[in-house]
Structures are given as C-alpha cells and as structure tokens.
Amino acid sequence: MSGFAALVARDLRLVWRRPGDVAVVLAFFVVATTLFPLGIGPEANVLARIAAGVLWCAALFAALLSLDRLFAADFEDGTLDLLLLAPWPLELAALAKCCAHWIVTGMPLAALAPILGVAFGLDPSVLLALSVTLLVGTPTLSLIGGLAAALTLGARKSGALLALLALPLCVPTLIFGAGAVEALATGGDFGAHLAVLAALALVALATMPWAIAAALRQAGE
C-alpha cells in the first residue's frame, strides 16, 4: 500500500507544482456551462429544467479534457517504465493514478457545480444533491477515462480518440447522475438513482484497474 500512497502523493505534488493545469480544466467547465444560456436563451424555467443535464455533460467533457495527459506525461518522460517495474501490482498503480485525477478534477468539479447551478436558477435544495451526484459519479468518469487514456498512449490523434472511446462508456453514469438531480426536482426517487450511480462506480472500480493495467503493459511493449 505504501507504493499506492506514494504514487498518489507524487501526482498531487506534480499538480501542486503546476496548478494552472487544473485551473484550465475548471475554467473550461465554467465557460462551457455559460455557453448554454447564451445559446438557448435566458428563460428561467427552461434553464432550471436543463441545468442538471448541462452541468453533468460539461463536467464529463471537462474530466475527459484533463485525462489526455494522465498517462501520456509518464509515457513520454519514462516514468511509466518505473511504474511497470514497481514490485507491486500495476492494477494498484492504475487505481492510484485515477484516484489522484479524481481528487484534482472530480472533487473541484463537484464543488464548483452548485455555484453554476445557482446561475441556472436551480432550487437551493437541489444544489447539494447535484454536488453529491457529481461526487459519487466522477470516480467512474476518472476510471473510464483512465482506460481511454491508457489505450490511446502513443496513438495518433489521441485527444479526440480518447473522447470517442470514453463517451459511450460514460453514458450510464451521465443518465443516472443527471437523472438523480431531476428525480429530486420532480419528486422521484433520488436515493435509488444515487444507489445505481454508486453501483456503476463499484463496477468501474472492479473492472477498470485491470483493463488499465493491461493497456499500460501493452503500451510499454
């Protein structure tokens, strides 16, 4: 476990040295969300109706945008070889990388979303729920995106390809994430949605580290 913690700590320290990289992702999230009222029109009831979906989609894009470099930086400077050569399971290393990614993108996105929700006229009681769904759902995005990032290492046009690979797999999380918020607003069963969202995260947790490790091994060959 010490290797796992060391890897998370190393990645967090790297982000700390270059906070701009995370700031750009969060700025993208804010700007992309702001475009929707400008494109659709400022009618309060329309905006409140689409807010959860828009914020979830924007969070998904923002998370994917930042995933491009998750393994590519390690691949380019040779530290990926050191991970492959570490005397503990590569699956744990994959999990550690995704975990660090979630801490620096998923958590800030979840914190930022309620503020943007206010601008969309979301009910205050819904704002916290929005944050909770993002907190439960974004780990899945980090794991799925981590796989796409590992699969596209060394590929041509890796950025767009990464999105093409990850987005269809992210659909269930999107449906239940945005659906949970909507359920709360329309008197549906928020708890059930959240439970499914958590189940999706557990499925990703149970499958993705192995797939990412396999992808990293074949990238190292």
Binding site: L147, L164, L165, P168, V171, F176, V203, Q218
Partner: protein, 239 residues
C-alpha cells in the same frame, strides 16, 4: 467459432477459406433470392403498417447481427489477449467494419421505418438509442485499431477496449431503457413488437439466417485481405 485453435495459423486458415468461400457465396446468393421473394412478395402486408412492415425483414436481422458481431469481436479479443492468436487480431480487424455496417443498416432502416410510424425520422426510442451507442462502440474500436503506426499495438488496445465494452453493453442498455421510460410515455409504438404473426415469422427467420451467412462470408473474405495486408507490411518471406 467453437474452436479457433484450428484456425490459429493464417496459412491453415487460408486453405480453409479457399475451400469454404465459393460454396458459401453461392449458398448466400440463393438464400438471399429466396429471402427477398419471401419478404417482399410472399408475406402479407401488415393491416396497420401496410408494406412498410417489410423494412423489418432487414432491420431486425441487422440489429441481431450487429450485436452478435460485437460478441464475436469480444471473443476474438479474448483469444488475442489470452492465447495471442495472430489470426484473432486479423479477424477482429476484418469483422469490426462489417459489424458496424450492419449496425448502420439497422439504424438507417429504423429511421426509415420510424418516419411512417412516428412521423419523424428519429425519435429517442430505447432500442434505437442503444443501437446508436453500440454503433459508437464499434466506431471507437475501429478508430483505435487503426490509430497506431504499429498494427499489433492497435490490435491489442482494441481487444482490451472491446472486452470492457462487452461488459458495459448490458449496463448501457439497462440505463437507456431506464432513461427512456423516465422521459417518454410508453404509448410510443415499438419497432418489431413482441407479437409477431406466423406468416411474418418464417420470412423473418429466413432473412436472419441469410444475412448471418452474408456477415460470415464478408468477414471471411476481409480476413483474407487482412492476412495479405499484414504480410505485405511485414514484408516477410512467405511461410
């Protein structure tokens, strides 16, 4: 597909395909002729939908083949990753665009069928939406397969992707069904409903068998091409 070991060696596969392809081509052509007669002439028009119901004879088999094709990709992917069968990679490379093609046919015919049924070329019907996502999964597989300068890397990356995809496919299907019931009233008529009249069932099953043979034939032919392509790229002396 029970025993891929038998085909593991491309040269042996070549002999197999040379024996099978001619007779398979003839069989497919004959079955297609009979199938078109059954579907377009012999079977009665639907009392509600009229002749548009005949779209089903292409639409439904395409949907099944597209799904089975993705399953085949997953089996080939597993065989590549576990046993490192060289032929599995080539066959997956050959099969993915064919499966995507059937998926596209399914979406296209669904849309054409939807126009008279729903009054719109596209409604967010649960089955069609699931097929659309399956089509995206196919596209991702094809794009990843061809994204590397070293084809072997693309083969293995796509194999990992399709295995994760096949695990996620039921989850995606379930979510889309859930999403659909949540957002749409159930009054919308569904394509290829559960009650199928026997006079339609026989032509339908016949077309399923015919198009399945066509799928197999196309995959075999394209695998041949992929073997040639890989040999040329590697420029190795003929084994």
């Amino acid at each position: 597909m029970a025993d891929l070991h038998f085909l593991a060696n491309p040269a042996r596969y070549r002999r197999f395909s040379q024996r099978v392809v001619p007779s398979l081509s003839i069989a497919t052509a004959l079955m297609l002729a009979v199938g078109l007669y059954l579907a377009l002439i012999q079977s009665p028009p639907d009392y509600q939908q009229g002749d548009t119901v005949r779209i089903m004879f292409v639409h439904v088999p395409s949907a099944w083949i597209a799904m089975a094709g993705y399953g085949l990709l997953a089996a080939l992917g597993a065989s590549l990753l576990v046993w490192r069968h060289p032929l599995a990679a080539l066959m997956a490379r050959a099969a993915a665009p064919v499966g995507a093609g059937f998926c596209a046919v399914c979406l296209l015919t669904g849309s054409l069928w939807g126009r008279p049924m729903w009054g719109a070329y596209w409604v967010w019907d649960a089955r069609l939406t699931s097929m659309l996502l399956l089509f995206f999964l196919y596209l991702g597989h094809i794009a990843l397969n061809r994204a590397y300068d070293e084809p072997e890397r693309g083969d293995r990356a796509a194999a990992i992707l399709v295995l994760i995809g096949v695990i996620n496919l039921p989850i995606i299907k379930f979510s889309v069904d859930w999403w659909n019931t949540l957002h749409q009233p159930a009054s919308v008529a569904r394509l290829g409903g559960p009650s199928i009249h026997p006079s339609i069932l026989l032509p339908l099953l016949w077309m399923v068998a015919t198009l399945f043979l066509l799928f197999v034939l196309l995959v075999l032919l394209r695998t041949d091409t992929e073997i040639d392509r890989r040999r040329l790229e590697n420029a190795e002396p003929q084994a």
